[in-house]
Symmetry: D2
Subunit: 340 residues, 4 copies
């Protein structure tokens, strides 16, 4: 018996989660929703995903455009065990009553508040917290990446303090409406929301975050400063991270000097959509000075939460323990490359 998964919102995250679910042997996509008859709806149909209108009123639009549609979200929820809500930030929460009424479990994304689900999830850090739960929130791309590299540090070396400056992409590659074209925009609210958000997953981590928006569509870049409680060598930190396959390493010495080159690697690995699920750390820029660790990490905002969504489903349905789920997810998605 496979878990039946509905995807509400076949956009940047939704289409990737749908494909990832399809690759698992213990779950299946029973349908996806769109609000309008766009080219993405055509792609969904080509992939064999039953297509539903996100709202009853939207059905007519699809029919007028000549697109076959199976019904509305309510109909889809009847066929599902769990819905992965991939609607735009802050919209997800408005669907919660519908999910409750339909009696399905639901996963929300990081654009929603912690309170919508009560559990904020990262597979490495707190897989067990989602065990059997009805509502779970997978944290955002930035928070996921922060947790991925900081959780191992905290667990295995200890962390006194984290300062993270997050240089954020301003729009996704397909999105030509958002700027800036030529400006840097500091987030004037301090700390940025990312620090407190990390603490929804690792409550006792002493972290402060600052965010800045820059004119690129390719990856976030984090400049991270960690005060360690003791003397540790750079190689020790690298070996520690190497045990976590959702972290991968690049090297300036081999010509990988920008986020653009990291994304080119994903293309050259023939990853679907050129996705880079792993948090990417520059091996030759990991530096420790006076018990202070400096490192850069790059985050593919479109895809890094995808494996986390799969693991969240397994935990919510008590289908596999943490190690088994991560192993399965990573194997099917090809997570955890090394080039040598």
């Amino acid at each position: 018996m496979k878990v039946k998964v509905a995807i509400n919102g076949y956009g940047t995250i939704g289409k990737r989660v749908a494909d990832a679910v399809s690759l698992q042997d213990d779950m299946e996509v029973v349908g996806v929703t769109k609000t309008r008859p766009t080219v993405e709806a055509l792609h969904a149909r080509e992939r064999g995903y039953p297509l539903y209108a996100a709202k009853e009123e939207a059905i007519e639009g699809f029919e007028n455009a000549g697109m076959k549609i199976e019904g509305a979200l309510e109909d889809l929820l009847q066929r599902a065990d769990v819905v992965v809500d991939c609607s735009p930030g802050k919209v997800g929460a408005t669907y919660k009553p519908l999910y409750e009424k339909a009696g399905v479990k639901a996963i929300f994304q990081g654009g929603e508040k912690h309170e919508v689900a009560g559990v904020s999830f990262n597979a490495y850090a707190n897989y067990e917290e989602a065990w059997g739960r009805r509502f779970v929130r997978v944290v955002s791309c930035n928070t996921t990446a922060l947790v991925r590299s900081l959780y191992p540090l905290k667990k295995e070396v200890g962390v006194e303090e984290v300062q993270a400056v997050m240089i954020r992409r301003a729009a996704d590659p397909w999105d030509s409406s958002k700027g800036p074209i030529n400006a840097i925009e500091p987030s004037l609210k301090l700390p940025s929301h990312h620090g407190p958000d990390v603490q929804t997953v690792i409550p006792d981590l002493n972290i402060y975050t600052v965010a800045v928006k820059v004119p690129t569509t390719i990856m976030h870049l984090h400049s991270i400063i960690v005060k360690l409680p003791k003397e540790v060598g750079e190689e020790e930190i690298l070996s520690l991270w190497e045990r976590y396959p959702r972290i991968s390493f690049v090297s300036g010495a081999l010509g990988v000097k920008s986020t653009a080159k990291v994304m080119e690697m994903a293309r050259d690995m023939l990853r679907p959509r050129g996705d880079m699920y792993e948090t990417i750390i520059w091996r030759d820029a990991v530096k420790i000075v006076n018990r202070t660790l400096y490192y850069f990490q790059a985050v593919h905002q479109e895809s890094d939460v995808v494996p986390e969504n799969i693991d969240a489903i397994r935990s919510m349905f008590e289908m596999a323990d943490k190690e088994e789920s991560i192993r399965k997810t990573d194997k099917t998605l090809g997570v955890g490359w090394t080039l040598s």
Copy 2:
């Protein structure tokens, strides 16, 4: 017996040609070259392509970096029937004496002058001209796209005059060294080289081209104006182009309003590297007024010449006639999609 293909220069074009050759049943990759031990060299090895140094002197660099290398370009040429030169523009011609000495056939790219090969190639327009030839030049991405949409017009309707304004991407996605970041740069030489270059393929086409560089890494966009010799309807032009699978169509009505959205379609089709081999025409912006045809086409500069290189090999080795070669190439690469 498969034709043995060497790739000199495993960069933007070279890596794609290598993968395309590998998908054919009548040719195979016998090796690729790099000048330095970069991450691209690691990718080549992971794909199973024997790796050679582009120059004898470069071998040491690979060995110092711990990368296994099979020899230098000269050694590779001994094992090859044909070399596809994918070295940077104007560098290709400097290799010609080496290719001649090794007794291999050679394909040059559009960064070289017509004279280096004497035949400038496009599969639709002049497949037969490359038949049995020793040296062939596959024209550039922009010229290829111009020929693809103009050749059918000229052949089937006639063309009095073409004015093309080419709004060019300034750098490839992986290349973070080139600008501009915030400027438009007209090419002050008139006509731009593209018009005369189209005439190396279609000698009697009356075409004038103007080029402008803009700050994007995603696709060239052509704004094309064609004076037709007679009254024709827009639907007639569209049906004509529909018979040529290396032209595909998108529609603003389905939300495809920018080059970024076109590239997102390639990603959503799970094309390797997110490539779009086809010349893309906006269906809802094809307009005829007073026997003057207006249309926009988008050109994926990284990949549109790839199928042409494969066809050029077949013509040079007299392996298949035009229709058969195009059909084979398109089938293996998945060229010629329609969404409906």
Copy 3:
């Protein structure tokens, strides 16, 4: 007696018109409006422009922010002979009833439809049409630039047909909300609105325009193709344009190869705000082939309509004839430079 000018909307155009009015000896600024207490409002006060709220309801916001305010737009109109409406596109028309009620003359900008005023204005082309009129519309930055270089051609050589491809900046320099960051967006509506808009000023000009949006904040660039009725030399065209001071020339040979370099010239001329009022033509890219003229022109979207607004006021109040007004405006603003 100076004409009393109100500026409704102290933004990109409004602040420039206010400064230009202040430089004239026959008109004066009696006040400007803002909708919110922003830094621009502070600048207005520093320049000595009486500050009014664009709406009655907005007054409180200014007071809460501790900014002194003279009243609302209605109060300002009581003190004015003419209002230059510089509110955002399509908003201007909504103010017309208020202007009518207050009994003031009004100038609208190119973001409004021709019908709002009935006269679409360019100083070279139809100064007389605005003579004594109550409502006049100064055409947009792009239309102004097209008229400036095409009107002299049409008048002195004749024009059979114009094809203009307009490569448009996507946002103004200060505006960090608009994209695209990395895409080209063709305007799928053909012709773009600019062609018909030119015809509101030069009704019998045979012009077709195509527009494309690109990721820059610096100037529009026009690639223009003109069919001439007779053989003319390039030097003749250049001399013709040289008689019109709102056209200036740059040269790639002196290193001016991009719109960014043109704007740098304006900065180096110490123009206020680095403005370039003139339409800029590349002297070394003016080319005639078979009675077809090709040229590039760059357009500073923030400032090129400013002198036109001043002239429109003079024509509406019958203060000076065309030559005198243009001479006066150009002298005060420093329009019509040559470097040699």
Copy 4:
């Protein structure tokens, strides 16, 4: 008797220093150099600056272009008391022997190493160190800005540790050759050179810096984290900085939310070339948590070192003490605005 100033290299910095020197009553420009007959050379002549060729061999190029030239750099040095070297980074040092031979004093810019001059200069921090010296280096735009906000903190509150993440513009506005267009590039060398460079001015400051390049031409942005030795309030820090006129403040509440908006303010203040000499701090993003101070500052890379160059001249020629020189420089350039 005015100090006679030569400018070697009339580029981004050189042209601004020339204009600033011209505004002083105790110094004058005796000539500027260019390597080629570009439009900048024409601008120099329009401003009345005698024009010299940077190299003897370059004279012919100017003459061929019809530009009058006074001689070569050697000739200019004969007429000068001091040369402000504004040649490109690392080129300046190669001129030092020539300056020594000519017996002139020389100021180098931050693109040269500290050792070229032995004194690295900032007017606030170490005006006296340049007193009477023959060679002085004015530190780079980024270092200048760091020193400007950190020196007051260190002097008046004390500083335990500084972590600065510097998000750098990739090219100047006029420069259309440099990228990236769409990528973020971390500087993989840690610490970036800025930290040690600050220590050439403030030797005992405990500072570590990290640098990241982003696709903008407008201002650097620094995210700065300072561990303070004692409890201090945010208002206290702000009042402290307010006593230093080369720091100015902006506020998100008034709509200044990006570097683009800061530059727009400079334009609206009608600063020549839209320059912002001051280091700009966001008032509403100065935050102290547990004796850790967070703030953002924006740096206009083209102009912030200009006043420092003027002060360096005065110190080198023992013309005025620190307070007097800063006051004079700031008054002539209009440094130290507040909007209220």
